[in-house]
Structures are given as C-alpha cells and as structure tokens.
Amino acid sequence: MLSKEQNDQLTQIGPGTPMGELLRRYWQPIAASSEVEKIGSTKKVKLLGEDLVLYRDKLNNLGLVAERCAHRGVSLEYGIPEKCGIRCQYHGWLYNADGQCIEQPNEPGNSTFKNRIKIAGYKVKELGGLVFAYLGPAPAPELPRWDLFVRKNVIRAIGYAIVPCNWLQIMENSLDPTHLEWLHGHYFQHVFEQQGRPQEEWPITKHHIKIGFDEFEWGIIKRRVLEGQTEENEDWAIGHPIVFPNILRVGDRGAHSFQIRVPMDDTHTLHFWYTCFIPKEGVKVPDDYPISLYECPIKDENGKFITDYIDGQDMMAWITQGPIADRTTERLGTSDKGIIMYRQMLKRELKKVQEGKDPKCVIRDPQKNECIELPQEENKFSEGELLTGVAKDWNTRYAPNLDEIIAICRGEKVVSSIS
C-alpha cells in the first residue's frame, strides 16, 4: 500500500511533474518507421502529455513539433511537409524542426513577427524500424542501441496497442513473476476449456518455488525457479531483464522481444511488442526482408477483452485495475517484492534528476553504445523454444506474415507475400 501522494507522484507524467521529468531523460519510441516512410507523410502522436505531429520532410528528414499551429490552433497533422520543416495548411506559416516559425507568407516582408513565434520541436531518430523522440533537456543522450535493435540476421515484427491505463501498472506486471502460472497458466486452461480446446496442450502452469530480483547496470534481472527446476536452470541462472525505466525483455531460443511501455498521458500507454525471430543455425534471412507492423486488439466485437492470447490476458489485467491503479487500497504480499523494489528504484532515480544528475540508463559514451547486450534465458521454463512454439497464442499471431516468418526461420524456401 502506498499513500495517495506517493501514488500520484509515481503515476503522473505530464510536463513539470517529477515522473514526467524522469521519463523525459529517455528516448521513447513513438511510431514504426514504416508509418512515416513516405516523404510528405505525417502522424499525430501523444507523448508524455504532449500532443505532437511527426512528419517526414522533402529532404527525407523526420521532424516532431507541437500539434497546433501557433496562429489559430489548427492541427498540423494535416500540414504540408516541405524541404526544411512543416507548413500550416491554413495560412502557410512554416516551422522548422526546432518548431521555430520561419515564414508567414501573408505578413509584410520586413516583419519580425515570425521571430517571436515558436512551438515545441523535438529531436527524433530511427533505429531498428522504430522512430524515437527525445523530449528532455539538451544535450540529448545517446539513443541506446539495445541488442535487439541492431542485431543482424533476424526477422523483426512490431506489434502495438494503445492501452487505456497508466504506464506504471503495466510495468509492475513485469516485476510480478507469479502471474505467469495463473494468468497465463491456469486462467489460460480455463479459457481453453471454455473454447473446447484440449487443456493439456498448455505448458505454462508450473508452480513457482522461488523468485528473485537483482539490480544490474541496465535495470533489474528477474529470476524464477519453477516446480521441477533448480537454480541451475536458465530461468534462475540467467533470468531476463526489466530495462530501466520502461522496457521488458523476454523470449526464448527462437524469439527475443522487447515490450516497451510509452506513456502517452496519465491514462494511456502506447505499447510496443518488438520481436526478433532468430533463424535456425545456418539459415540466412533475406537482407531486405520487411519489418511487419500489426495492431494487437484489446476487445472483441462485443466489447469483451480478448483473453485467448497471452498479451490479451495481460492487457485485461492491466486495464481492469482502472485508468490509474489505486495503490492506497492494494494488499501486497511477499510475492510482490519485485514491484516494491522497482517503485523504490524509481524514487531513487527521481532524486538523481532533482539533483541535476543523469538517472540510470542514460548513456553519454558512444563507445559504450555500439551494441548493448542484455542477458536473457533461452531455455525458457525448461521448454526450449516455448514462445516460438506458441507464437499463435501471443501477440505475433496478428503479424500478417507469421507463417512466412516461421518458414524462413526454419530454412524453408518462401516467396514473400508482403512488401
């Protein structure tokens, strides 16, 4: 249980809030590159409480500015990307990538009015098929080159959903290992039973004997020992990390993935499932194989949560806690120690920011950033390529090319159906 003041501080992420200031120290993914691939394209995004427009200008550079034109408040989502910025479609005011107004076509030629007009403009970079934005103070740190963003010879797929709840309850799910055996184990068996599917086909119901959490350079390593395992098993000996502050790394031998929780505002989170499928030894993935983008649905046509896939079950658990979980009424037990550890880490890093220091995982040294390898067990739950085996029971089932990805990774000859 937390006090209301503590809960508010950890969950409010708008400009000027302590948590908002902490999260602004990190590059955050806001779109897939494929969404703004075409010169002249725009996309409306919301990040850390700010309404913004991402665009690709005519010199093929990305820009990110405040959504509304300073003149009359029109949305620049419908603006015209030009050679050096985006022009308002209403009266032609032109803004550069910094948000500075550089043209007002209907004002006198010698007017200095435009010099006094500036909207927000933020840095953007692309890596691994994602577009990242930095909303913090200058100088911007390095955009972290986490291993999955730069790894070669993998097939990438990006799923996404706009989840209508606060970012923190999503992250806390990742510090809660025991939900695996219930939400994705016994509950899944219940769903199978309701659907008339054989329940014994589902492997994730082993009881947790032990859980553990260790801080490391990039976050927290989460470990577990399941029934029938020992500490020699990879789930304990290696574990998998929560990359501070808002990424979960999870996977097995055949698929490694990030789950990235991007706070849009206090009650909405843009969630990415970024998966790298690892081909069988000796199999070469085509160099130009596209990165597919797909939406992960939350509810069905009747307005009920879709609970027959792992990530749909997670979303049901996150969202039904309410738009912002009320931690003044929670009843945490010993199995929730990872959640408590993570909250305290957030508080410690908040203090660093308030003292003018860089928080954890802000990287300034380019040499350290060539490729940051993260630990992750591969023989998951002692089931080997478990996630790949159940790829149709987690978010990747919505990837339009899943069958093709699996065939390529197995070394089969395929004619690609996607461009």
Binding site: M1, S3, Q6, N7, T329, R331, Q344
Partner: protein, 66 residues
C-alpha cells in the same frame, strides 16, 4: 480497509537518521507477511533502505530436532 485509513501508513520516521519518511522524496510501502505488517522503507536523506515489521504475535522458529 475503511475509507478513513486508505493510504494511511503507520510508520513515520527513518530508523537510521530520524528524518520523516512521509516526505514525498522518501519511500514507504506497506505489505504483509502472513499476519505481520511490513514497512519497506527508503530514506532519501540518508539512503537507508530496509524493512520494519510490526509484530502482532511473538513466535519462535521451530527448534531443531535431536
């Protein structure tokens, strides 16, 4: 839990330096081990981190058998 006691945590001060743990910079998280109430504390003043257990019943561990 009564509406009145929602979010009200009984512990108040850092056992190491005596600073208030109710200040927003510090961290106090109440949880439960069986019938005992536990306070996970982190003091932003002195960085002390630890747990304090409020004991309802004094028990001894099982003695080793001969």
């Amino acid at each position: 839990m009564s509406e009145k006691n929602k979010g009200v945590i009984a512990l108040k001060f850092c056992p190491n330096c005596g600073e208030s743990l109710l200040k927003l910079n510090s961290f106090l998280n109440e949880y439960w081990i069986s019938h005992d109430t536990v306070y996970f504390c982190w003091c932003s003043e002195c960085s002390w981190r630890g747990e304090i257990i409020e004991i309802k019943r004094v028990t001894a561990p099982e003695l080793a058998s001969v």
